[in-house]
């Protein structure tokens, strides 16, 4: 089984996001960069597919040189090799551009399955997986929490509002990982040592010949809408607090 996992490096979820002076990008000075949490599920699933069916796991990413760290993490978890399309300008960009680049890199690898995290927790778009699937003419299975491969067919569980869909697909296929798909392993110390020697191929956008004109651009960033200051519910006993809260929600806020 030839498995490709596409991943992104994002600010750690504990990061306080500050708007930069240009009003349309963020301050990146003090950010701790990590592998996108959903991509950890994708890497883990890729490794489990290899363990069950044999084959090879290649991890691919796009972005500045620092993204190498996220790829090394995936190699330390057990991936066999990595490819980075390195470009300092490719962080704050249109996901459709990422998709064009990834499709170009992945296509000649002839993968049986291409895994993504269901969305990156920075731009929250969640469209790169389906755009790559479209560009390569492959079916897509998004936000899956269970995956099985047998007889050249992939079957997944996909929870939607109030239901879980069991969907099957031919291969090759693009799958995006949801939380609950698996419990990602930690990189072991020997794994980290080995990762240093695994192949990490660096490519440039120029050599791939990808068109970089955006379909979408962020024109302004603003802080979240301010909330009015809150009220403390008073009361001597739990019963009194509960009664006063119920009264506030029923009579003042009219939400219950």
């Amino acid at each position: 089984m030839n498995v490709v996992v596409c991943l992104k490096q994002v600010p750690d979820t504990e990061t306080v996001i500050k708007i930069a002076e240009d009003g349309k990008t963020i301050v990146t000075d003090d950010i701790k960069w990590v592998m996108n949490p959903y991509d950890e599920f994708a890497v883990e699933e890729g490794l489990r597919i290899k363990e069950a069916h044999g084959g090879e796991v290649t991890v691919v990413s796009v972005g500045p040189k620092r993204v190498t760290e996220a790829l090394r993490t995936a190699l330390a978890m057990g991936a066999d090799k990595a490819v980075l399309v390195e470009d300092e300008s490719l962080y704050w960009t249109d996901p459709m551009i990422f998709a064009r680049i990834l499709a170009k890199v992945v296509e000649p690898m002839n993968p049986d399955i291409i895994l993504f995290g269901q969305r990156a927790v920075d731009d929250d778009c969640g469209i790169v997986g389906s755009a790559v699937a479209e560009l390569l003419g492959l079916p897509q299975l998004s936000v899956v929490t269970k995956l099985e491969i047998s007889d050249g067919k992939v079957t997944v569980h996909r929870p939607v509002e109030g239901q879980t869909l069991v969907i099957s697909s031919s291969m090759p296929v693009v799958v995006t990982a949801g939380k609950g798909l698996n419990e990602p392993r930690y990189a072991s110390l020997p794994g980290i040592m080995k990762a240093k020697k695994k192949p990490l191929d660096v490519k440039t956008v120029d050599e791939l010949g990808v068109e970089l004109s955006p379909t979408m651009e962020i024109t302004a960033l603003s802080p979240p809408p301010e909330r009015a200051p809150g009220k403390k519910i008073e009361g001597e006993t739990p019963e009194e607090l509960a009664a006063n809260l119920a009264k506030a929600l029923h009579e003042e806020a009219k939400v219950i």
């Binding site: 306080v16 969907i167 697909s169 506030a248």
Partner: protein, 324 residues
């Protein structure tokens, strides 16, 4: 004037609420652009239901009938809508940022070679163009987005845009779009027990964190949720401890929710949780620690032991419900 399109979503022969939210928002955009509002309905035997969309401002329905459209598949929907859009060149295409819309949007945009703004919370029109705003970093900042190509595609976060009812019935035109090869198959639909409300669509959420101490204690939140018709959510701490399933997690690495009322019980308010629920219309925090960050986000703070207050509050809610 080629129109504003909305992609209707339906289940078991009925339109879902998100369809009415998107129609209502689409009506406003169509009015500002001075064009018509068109709903695209792909279904199997849904034709008679289509007229209802007129009530939410839809002028015209493009209805395509076929077994291939029920249940939804990415391939059938994206190829049919792309084929219609290529023929008729809409200015704007809107859909819900529901699980279906999130699956469809990127695929459709890539098929048409255009951009998409996902999970928008505000739509404006300037210089004859749609200008969407969407939360990023799970709501830590909001981004205003320019979509450079036509059609401009956006998906709308559930529970944010008001449903506006009007007089009127929609004209229905039957269409037969091209449907490409469908490579996936829905083998089975497993319904969740008791018709559980999904967090992203719930009007009220009762949520528990590390302060719940164990899985059994969530029973008191379930009892409150039952009385209020609410969904039960959880913080990452509670999910990682194995007390609640992954699907219940609210936050940057879980679900981003916008209920009318969010009741946080025993949740300290880590930044990644606050990001996921911070745009709830009303927030109640019940936490005995007065310094917990959740209190600073709350509209109503109760500084007390949740194990005493929540059951008493459930009783109060029962009284209110009984009197209604």
């Amino acid at each position: 004037m080629a129109g504003v399109w909305i992609i209707a979503e339906h289940r078991d022969g009925a339109f879902r609420k998100i369809t009415f939210e998107v129609a209502s928002a689409g009506r406003k955009v169509a009015d500002e652009l001075g064009t018509e509002l068109v709903a695209v309905v792909l279904g199997n035997g849904m034709k008679d239901a289509c007229a209802e969309l007129g009530k939410y401002g839809v002028d015209k329905v493009l209805y395509a009938d076929g077994e291939v459209f029920e249940p939804y598949t990415t391939d059938a929907y994206s190829s049919a809508i792309a084929s219609l859009a290529k023929d008729r060149s809409p200015d704007v295409i809107l859909m819900g940022a529901s699980m279906q819309g999130k699956d469809l949007g990127g695929r459709l945009a890539a098929k048409l070679g255009v951009g998409i703004a996902v999970d928008c919370t505000k739509l404006e029109v300037a210089d004859g163009k749609l200008v969407p705003t969407r939360p990023i970093y799970a709501g830590k900042v909001y981004a205003t987005v320019a979509l450079h190509h036509t059609p401009q595609i956006a998906s709308l976060r559930p529970n944010v845009f008001d449903v506006v009812e009007k007089q009127g019935a929609a004209e229905i035109e039957e269409v037969s779009p091209e449907v490409g090869e469908v490579k996936t198959k829905v083998e089975e639909i497993i319904k969740e027990e008791g018709g559980k409300i999904d967090l992203t669509e719930a009007e009220i959420i009762v949520s528990g964190g590390r302060g719940m101490k164990n899985a059994e204690n969530f029973k008191i939140l379930e009892e409150l949720a039952e009385v209020l018709g609410a969904a039960v959510g959880a913080s990452r701490a509670a999910v990682d401890a194995g007390w609640r399933p992954h699907g219940d997690q609210v936050g940057q690495t879980g679900k981003v929710v916008t209920p009318n009322l969010y009741i946080a019980c025993g949740i300290s308010g880590a930044i990644q949780h606050l990001a996921g629920m911070g745009s709830s219309k009303l927030i109640v925090a019940i936490n005995k620690d007065p310094d917990a960050p959740i209190h600073s986000k709350a509209d109503y703070s109760v500084v007390a032991d949740l194990f005493q207050v929540v059951p008493a509050f459930t009783e109060e809610c029962k009284k209110i419900k009984a009197s209604q």
